[in-house]
Symmetry: D2
């Protein structure tokens, strides 16, 4: 089988490095081009990237010359974007116009009216928005987004509850890992023996993006869900894995065991299609009193699941629980790749 | 002036060590006796305590022989208790019966119907319950409790809002420091690059104790407040200082600036009486976007204040904010000492 | 092929858990029995072990009943020992007397005159001591030891230099990970934002054991090497991976590139025999200026190699360098298993 | 008494902030000017500095306008320099030429032939070099340097031994705190659960500077000591406090108790002159088996002492021990201020 050649934009950063490891031996995709910022262009990837992961860069990729993030320099029909927020908006449009399908981890287009913001287990039907973009761009290209790292795991936990029982409100406090801020990211003096109760822009993403994920496709638009979400976002001294405490209010309060069953039984299209990166269980409920924990659970299901625990009554809303998810796998690069796998499996990549 | 001789029960532990440092040069109290568990009895305090604080044990105290935690061996009329939960209940009663006033940091008696559970800025009138105990014990002794470390800072932040506007609900997530679990407490392998989303018994304390602090003295009983509180308690890798995110719902929603004014202007009896350990401001509101932080704020006001920040609208309840407090000062030993200072200033210590 | 049934003594501890993961799918050995201390006996292993590793306990083993560490209760002909120091000495002898071959990570017998203390790449010939024990015990059983976690990696780095050039002295400072102290081990308050410059008994092991590893088999005894080693051992706030700075003095000072070549080219019997757990390269020299680092290198070669870097002139001795090794894999459980694999490959297991 | 007006160059950085706190209430000096890099110039200091210390910026200083680091803009006769390495060299000369006395924490001039590199307890006579500079600059200005943070504490421990017994060699491994790298400095992802065995340029400073501190003033030059020092420098996950393991070789090996006595009894000119920032004991020897530790000892003697422990025989050199010192107090800003206090007490400030 001929693999589809793909490019990685922002390949030297932390999410870019995760793309490398997820795509290096992918059954459907083959890394053909690596692109990064000007000070990396022309260098070998192995020299340009300050590598952060506990395995070697694959030799073939280490030798690849870094290209500029320019739609004329980068030819691949499928592009994974880990571009920085400030340039992603304009650049991703250019790529789509020249015909590339852009699976993006960047935030600027997530809430765009004609941009599918997709978690394959939750709202794969939103991919239908692609045709709106294709018309607008007069091209076969379009932009497909995944959510914010904290949002994705929140939505994976909320979706089974919303589908089965109807959700009205969720109040979430996050304890987010350092890799979520990229590299070099958070200064060590800001986090050793400290907690920072503020992450710029994060709370708004966590409050707004779920309304689109849980929204309804209506012709060529998404009707946002009217679920009300409030977020407190904090940075703590952990490397990988976002922990979130969540309280929820239902349309009609279900039984506690029925809520657990909803977590246990949740499956979606990626499981049905057996997408390469799909977790066997997208939501894993653990019954131990002190789980999930980062040291034990963040890598479960290849880092592609949301691990949930401690479901119990909430004195203010209906129930409360805690969830944990790997922020650079299912919360970033893994989400972007899974979205592309969904496109492939549905024949969208030609 | 003759100082009042005091004893410390559980003197070798982490809270006991804080008592030492707070009382070593106290203007009203003088440490006369140190008591601890059997394996310390008879040793010099300096040898018995595995000292954890960044200053030397005062020489006089280092040389003091450790006594058993026995009301017959310990003579002081005022006793500070940092006894372990499993023995504090019965022992503190014995001390009260023999005539000692027990200012306790232990949890067993906190919710007792005739036990004042007091934050001097919030509910000093609850001290009136002492006479109920005195009758029961037929003694001048009684037990006076402070709250749980997470609860105290929560209540210090809620009280000015409740007094001024009326509060109905609060939803809180804590990120608690390691010193809250005592020494040796949490294993290092359980917390480096980890978060533990569970602290045994903690959530119940945080949900129940505020109802008593904010309750009304009615003759010889406290009518519990009907405020509804829900807590998610987490352990993170910090040494001192509990961070809490809080969302609140009011009887009638006030203006945001009025809420800040309530924090800014909050004062109580300790400030009026100029108690030695009283903070100038029991609640400090900071307007920077990323405060409070442990590294900057936990020692503000000698560790005796609750530092608050980031007040903003909440999409689920009315407002949300973050608070930080030192857990072994105002959250434990400092609270116990301040309660005793209140007794002294009101002439209860004879 | 019939696998050899093996038992794990001290199966619930941190090293015991590593044995589980290394042996769960081993090509030659099959876990038949799990033994631990009295408070675990009779429980299912899954309930008895406070599991610390980021993957699930294999289901078959989680269901196995824990046996007492008693040579009459445990039948397997090959026994892996992670027994605590205070009981390992006597118990391991009992196991050897009843005919078991004991591959031990415990320290009491390491310096025993008739006990082989082996790193398979360094001194596999020392296995000849087994026959001395077999005579003494009048049994086919014997005890085989691996070294201390810090020692093993030090010796792996020193051996290629000693073999090729002759070494006279080594001065080493270790920065040791928390897992080296077991679980619960080091209290979190002792290590967050701290360094502890003392590990009880450790320096003596690091100074003495290499003299045996690098010693010469002479008939039925080992002549200890007269290499002089001085160690400073420290505990730092890392989970896994011991870092060591080393300065060495040679018989005759070689060229720097020749020293690097010795590291690069070092191979031994495990590589020749292709033992299942053998690293392709037991010593890996990295030329980057800031390597090795735990986050990047501790899991290289399945955690079975010693990673070395920064070789340069030393103003006091001849050369200096830094090394890193995984302390619970090649530094403990991995060493014990590799020793057993060597026995198997040499036909000693029957 | 009229205080001497002083300026701080590089006032917004981490060392600059320490200058602020050490000088805010100084009995002899008064902060008159604060200077920093272009992007701070013209701002209020409180807005320009990203404050890192656990107490408020003094209100008077928070309101001060930041000046450029220009000898024409800054008028004070005494200047404290925390300038970055790349600009300190040229700028400090300009300040000296215009007549300012520059007490500098920067490294470029430390090894300069006519620059006194001084620890007041160790080599106060080296101040005599000032007159060489004054002649060269034809000005009353000159540059006075303190050493590198790791070096200062090493030299404070070596000096009493060298003075009393004569030292030939020292082999040191450092475990350095994050504040030593400034702010933002080390990325959190580079140090959580990691050790970095490399700090650019550090080892050379630790090996060379002691030769000057321990050298002899001979007329207008310093004869470097021929002590041989070898350093391994590492970064670990601590906020403040450098730990160093040290092995030493003497001219003639003294008795162990005599070495301890040398540490215990060491005093110098700052103690004799009772300089405001002088520690009562510049070297503190602790006899506990596991001291010094950062959490207990780094703030001893106001952070101005070197804390030593664990003196014992070394199998390679004569003795070994461990030392700890606060890196931004005695290791940086405190050293710079103490040097200026020495000048003042000796009448050099007019």
């Amino acid at each position: 089988m001929n693999k589809i050649p793909v490019a990685i934009l922002g390949a030297t950063g932390l999410v870019g490095q995760r793309f490398i490891t997820l795509l290096a031996n992918h059954p459907w995709f083959e890394i053909a081009e690596l692109a990064a910022s000007d000070n990396s262009v022309g260098k070998k990837y192995g020299a340009a990237a300050k590598w952060q992961l506990p395995f070697e860069i694959p030799a073939r990729l280490a030798q690849m010359s870094v290209l500029p993030c320019d739609p004329h320099a980068v030819q691949a029909p499928l592009v994974f974007s880990a571009l920085p927020t400030d340039i992603a908006g304009a650049l991703e449009v250019e790529f789509a116009k020249r015909g590339a399908i852009v699976s993006s981890n960047a935030s600027p287009h997530r809430m765009g009216a004609d941009v599918p913001l997709v978690i394959p287990e939750v709202n794969p039907d939103h991919l239908a928005l692609a045709c709106v973009q294709r018309k607008k761009f007069n091209s076969k290209g379009f932009i497909l987004c995944n959510g914010n790292c904290t949002t994705i795991h929140l939505v994976l936990a909320l979706a089974p509850l919303h589908q089965r029982f109807g959700l009205k409100k969720a109040l979430v406090t996050s304890m987010q890992a350092l890799s979520g801020a990229g590299y070099p990211g958070v200064a060590s003096l800001d986090i050793i023996d400290n907690v920072v109760p503020y992450i710029g822009g994060e709370e708004d993403k966590v409050e707004q993006e779920p309304r689109k994920f849980l929204g309804k496709l209506n012709g060529e638009t998404i009707e946002l869900s009217d679920i009300r979400i409030s977020a407190h976002c904090n940075r703590v001294a952990t490397r990988d894995g976002h922990m979130e405490t969540v309280s929820v209010e239902f349309e009609t309060k279900p039984q506690l065991e029925d809520v657990i069953a909803a977590f246990d039984e949740f499956r979606g299209l990626p499981q049905e299609l057996a997408l390469p990166l799909a977790p066997a269980r997208p939501t894993v409920y653990r019954r131990e009193p002190d789980r999930p924990q980062l040291k034990l659970d963040r890598d479960a299901e290849k880092g592609m699941a949301t691990i949930i625990g401690r479901l119990r009554e909430c004195a203010v809303l209906d129930y409360k629980f805690v969830l944990l998810g790997h922020n650079t796998l299912r919360g970033a690069a893994g989400a972007t790749v899974l979205n592309a796998e969904l496109l492939y499996a549905q024949g969208e990549l030609g």
